[in-house]
Amino acid sequence: MNNQILIKNGYVYDPINKIDGEKMDIAIKNGRIVPLSEIDESKAKVIDASGKVVMPGGVDMHTHIAGPKVNLGRLMRPEDHYYSIVKLIPGVRRSGTGITTPSTTVVGYKYAKMGWTTAIDPASPPLKNRHTHEELDDTPILDKAVFILMDSNWFVLKYLEKGDIEKCAAFVAWLLKATKGYAIKIVDPGVAIPWIRGKGYGLGLDDQIPPFNITPREIVRGLCKVNKMLKLPHPIHVHCNRLGIPGNYQTTIETMKAVSDLADEDVNIHITHVQFNSYGGVGWANLKSRAEEIAKYINSVNHVTLDMGQIIFGEATTMTADAPFEYALYHTTKWKWGGAEVEAEAAAGIVPFTYKRKNYVNAIQWCIGLEVALLVQDPWKVVLTTDHPNGGPFTSYPEVIAWLMSKKAREKVLEKLNKRALREVALPSIDREYSLYEIAVITRAGPAKLLGLDNIKGHLGPGADADVAIYDLNPAEVDFSENYEVIEKAFSSALYTIKGGEIVVKDGELVKYGYGKTYYVEAKVEDALMQEVLGEVKEKFNEWYTISFENYEIHDHELRHPQPIKVGGV
């Protein structure tokens, strides 16, 4: 089998190695990028990438593609699966269905088709995380990981309310290992607790969360300290309080400020799908964009990163661990609502939703996502997402890229939007257009760095995993700002997607089947501390949970290709 590939003459965009459209060759051997000298051109498969763009494979660090609430979304939406068909190609591609709630077989295929090779499910409850892993292991091609919900975890809250950061850190380290998780996920911190009584909508950063003696601010700060103590590769990943509520931008800024003193030179908080948390105004009728204020803060500091959460007009399926918000949304759609709760850990909601151009609120939401991305100056602080499937399906990324790269593309959409909304937003007057280099940052290099995987992901230097995408884009000949349809077309259908040194997509079609790795984090904790904490956990476990402690842990051999990432720890 030929394990050498030589990609010749392409325009390479590799921001981690500061390569900005240089014409160069990329060499692959045994699944890795290698120096050119290490391959034998006569024996290699040569891909002529002249006049084409070469980038590292895409990295999506926030996409709801697997796990209990995602599957409940599929269950609730058979209509999403009746006509959206992917046919079986025996030995090459599994069949599947779904657009906003795609089957796992379709997820892997459609990401690979766009040149993406790594995807992270950002919110899974520990008790059910085995489910998330089983789904990810039925998702072809991609390398993957899972973020673990922790903000409403009774053990975490018990330790944090006492201010016991060390013990909390030991618990978190154990939790990540036991669930084979990758990072700390925080969703409307603490909200699953009042939700036990059906309350919690609009929970503020400094509200109390009985019966725990703690506030969301303290949860965020506590977990931020834990994260730092354990030297976890990814910062705390935060869905801020008051998501979706007009006026919430202040909470978002307060949340970012809440941990600013805890940062050294590093990024210590990632604000996810910031669009949904950048609202001004008092009610829906006068919703305003506060993207400028959010961007202003982020521009002034170095400890925050964000991902967009861009909405796409059309059907979406909202699904988050922000149960009260979803319940409230259900009252506006009056159609389907899926609620789910996990003992001592988390709660979620699923509500189908349609974003409409003529709807004032949706029009503003569409503008906000782009405004934030365009107003934050440093692309390394921005990650492209639609919070799939909350804002829209991930298959819309090519469109989002086009909007970022071309003002003309944005204008085409703006002319169809609710007119009153246009008077309230800054987007029409923003001229900035992302370059291909910057797109490579926000879809590959940046997220890889944020995940702490930038040694092997998101770049094309020697040593990197050979995850490469080749796009039909010629930066020397095409003005992308004018001809944005070219961008959309190119990113919708990669000429080549190479995963781990194997060509998996050619001309937008799957040519090889296989399963990627599952990354998880093992943070080192001093034995005595761990034993003490586990002793305390076991004491309470039977009181809170309905399974035995022994059966909580997920073992390596349950996953197809587990890949532990060992970090410093405490």
Binding site: P78, S95, K128, E135, I196, W337, G339, A340, E343, I547
Partner: protein
């Protein structure tokens, strides 16, 4: 006064004795004695002028069967109960009314005294399906390795959807010798794991089973399935998620119809979720917080015996610690053992659950109910119930096949879900379907995530399609639409209505199962499998979708593969036959 004939409403379902007997063996006398029966209220026995153990001929629009009368310990005049099984299925309503679920409950039946004896399992198959059911020999299975004793703790039971994981199993010289803390169903499964086992692959030649090699069995199975124009792959709820995931791949490769037993249990629940969503919570959330628990159309003391003590009425929760702190309501068509623990028992007319839920929703939404009673429940009681529900701090509604299998099917559950969704305007309320087999949820989950649909999936056009009532195994068999069948970890000959079974007996059938059961008797090929949770590891999903990893306690009998291994072999063989690169 005696009547030679009486009319009753017939209900069929799980009993503890039936559940225990399954694992002793479907071909045993015990199974015959516990399942070929009809439970009658003392009044109805008197009306017929018979005493216990007399034979009764039961006739419905759909067929007739002779069973043995048993006096019920509870009062339910006019309602008779036959345990689920091949006898019940000679008289149940096979039509699914567009839901995929036959009508196993609420059927009008006529009972007549007779002096015939109930047919044995084999007689039943021969008489009703016109085919020979070969007799099967069972051997003692020797185990010696590894030597010594080991006690396994936190063992996860693999019988019902409770997936209780507090069992303790002692293994001595490679054999299970003691099971602690299991309910009778779980204990029977684990303690009798070596009984009625299929030990070698079998192939039917001239009406008799002949031993064959695993390779040959796989080869012949693959040939049958590949040659079929529309094979059915059915079962799945009593095996590991790993095997199920491969089963989906297998069905896709074959262009087959793929279905699992949820079509006959909580498929209707799924139909409700598809229309309106759901309000779910894990069992611990309910145990910890619920001060009101409603059991509707379910009888956990027979079908989920440890449920009340572990998860519900009597369980110790983090905040609600005792039975006294909870209010328990039972709603059913007849008084069941579960009704005995209720603070309030509401008897609903068989088939009338839908109207009752509508009326409850009227009351909860403060709308007047114009009539005096709904489905046998006085309107005053309905208002009372609605107030109890609205004033709970955290309510939980457990529901079972009493609501899914009766007239209305999926629309019944849609109403249950809407009721709970509306209650959330007042207080916290969740619902929990009482799932039957230990991994039927896993079958739904894995089929759903890989295809977009949870059951009744059709791959004949090269991609998943789903329409219960058309693509469901029950309807496909009832209409004679499939021309071969692979049955994995299930026994449709025992549990499908007779008319569907008849069509199953007309096509080539392959059964993969640890034990001999009625479906294996009519099969062309029988392949043995290891018991998940006893002889091999595997993942399974509890009724609240919590996934657990079942343990391996002992080795399977020599040469017996796991379902996962069998699936891999089958897929390889089928790819070979179809010229597909691996």
């Amino acid at each position: 006064m005696n009547q030679s004939k009486i009319e009753v409403t017939l209900v069929t379902g799980r009993t503890i004795d039936q559940g225990v007997a399954i694992d002793k063996g479907k071909l045993t006398t015990e199974y015959y004695e516990k399942v070929a029966i009809i439970e009658l209220d003392a009044e109805d026995l008197a009306r017929l002028g018979i005493s216990e153990n007399a034979s009764v001929e039961v006739s419905t629009k759909f067929g007739s069967v002779v069973v043995r009368a048993v006096k019920s310990k509870f009062k339910h005049p006019g309602v008779a109960f036959i345990p689920m099984g091949p006898w019940a299925n000679l008289v149940t309503d096979p039509y699914t009314y567009g839901s995929g679920m036959p009508t196993f409950k609420g059927i009008r039946a006529e009972l007549k005294v007779t002096d015939k004896a109930p047919p044995t399992q084999r007689e039943l198959i021969i008489t009703n399906f016109g085919i020979e059911a070969p007799s099967v020999e069972f051997e003692e299975i020797e185990t010696q390795k590894p030597s010594g004793e080991k006690v396994y703790t936190s063992v996860i039971c693999s019988f019902c959807g409770c997936l209780c994981d507090d069992l303790e199993v002692k293994v001595s010289n490679g054999r299970i010798v003691e099971v602690k803390r299991a309910c009778p169903l779980g204990r029977s499964k684990i303690a009798h794991y070596l009984e009625n086992r299929v030990l070698k692959p079998m192939i039917k030649i001239d009406g008799k089973f002949v031993e064959t090699s695993l390779e040959n069995a796989i080869k012949k199975t693959a040939e049958i399935l590949v040659n079929a124009s529309y094979p059915l792959i059915y079962g799945w709820s009593s095996t590991s998620t790993e095997a199920i995931r491969l089963g989906v791949e297998l069905a896709e490769l074959l262009g087959a119809a793929l279905d699992n037993t949820s079509v006959m249990c909580h498929g209707p629940t799924i139909l409700g979720v598809q229309e309106v969503g759901t309000v779910a919570a894990t069992l611990g959330q309910i145990r910890n917080h619920a001060d009101l628990m409603i059991y509707w159309g379910c009888n956990p003391f027979h079908a989920h015996p440890k449920h009340p003590a572990r998860y519900s009425a009597m369980a110790k929760g983090a905040y609600v610690k005792t039975r006294k702190e909870r209010k328990i309501i039972v709603i059913d068509v007849r008084e069941t053992p579960t009704a005995r623990i209720a603070d309030l028992f509401i008897k609903v007319k068989p088939g009338g659950d839908y109207e009752l839920i509508k009326a409850l929703r009227m009351a909860i939404n403060d709308l007047d109910i114009e009539v005096d009673e709904v489905s046998g429940v006085p309107t005053e009681k309905i208002y009372e119930l609605s107030d109890i529900m609205r004033s709970a701090k955290f309510g939980a509604l457990f529901f079972g096949l009493g609501v899914t299998m009766t007239k209305g099917k999926g629309r019944n559950i849609e109403e249950v879900i809407k009721l709970v969704q509306e209650l959330n305007s007042w207080t916290k309320f969740v619902l929990m379907p009482m799932r039957g087999h230990y991994n039927v949820v896993g079958a739904n989950m894995a089929t759903l995530w890989a295809t977009g649909f949870p059951f009744a999936v059709d791959f004949s056009r090269g991609y998943p399609r789903h329409n219960p009532g058309v693509t469901s195994a029950t309807d496909l068999l009832l209409n004679g639409d499939v021309d071969a069948a692979l049955i994995v970890a299930s026994d449709p000959v025992a549990h499908f209505p007779a008319q569907a079974v008849k069509n199953l007996t007309k096509i080539p059938v392959i059964t993969i199962d640890p034990k001999w059961n009625l479906t294996s008797l009519i099969s062309q090929i029988v392949i043995p499998a290891a018991i998940v949770g006893v002889e091999c590891e595997g993942s399974a999903y509890r009724m609240d979708k919590v996934p657990l990893r079942l343990k391996k306690l002992v080795d399977p009998p020599p040469g017996v593969p796991s379902d996962e291994e069998i699936m891999k072999m089958l897929i390889r063989e089928i790819k070979k036959l179809k010229g597909v690169s691996a």
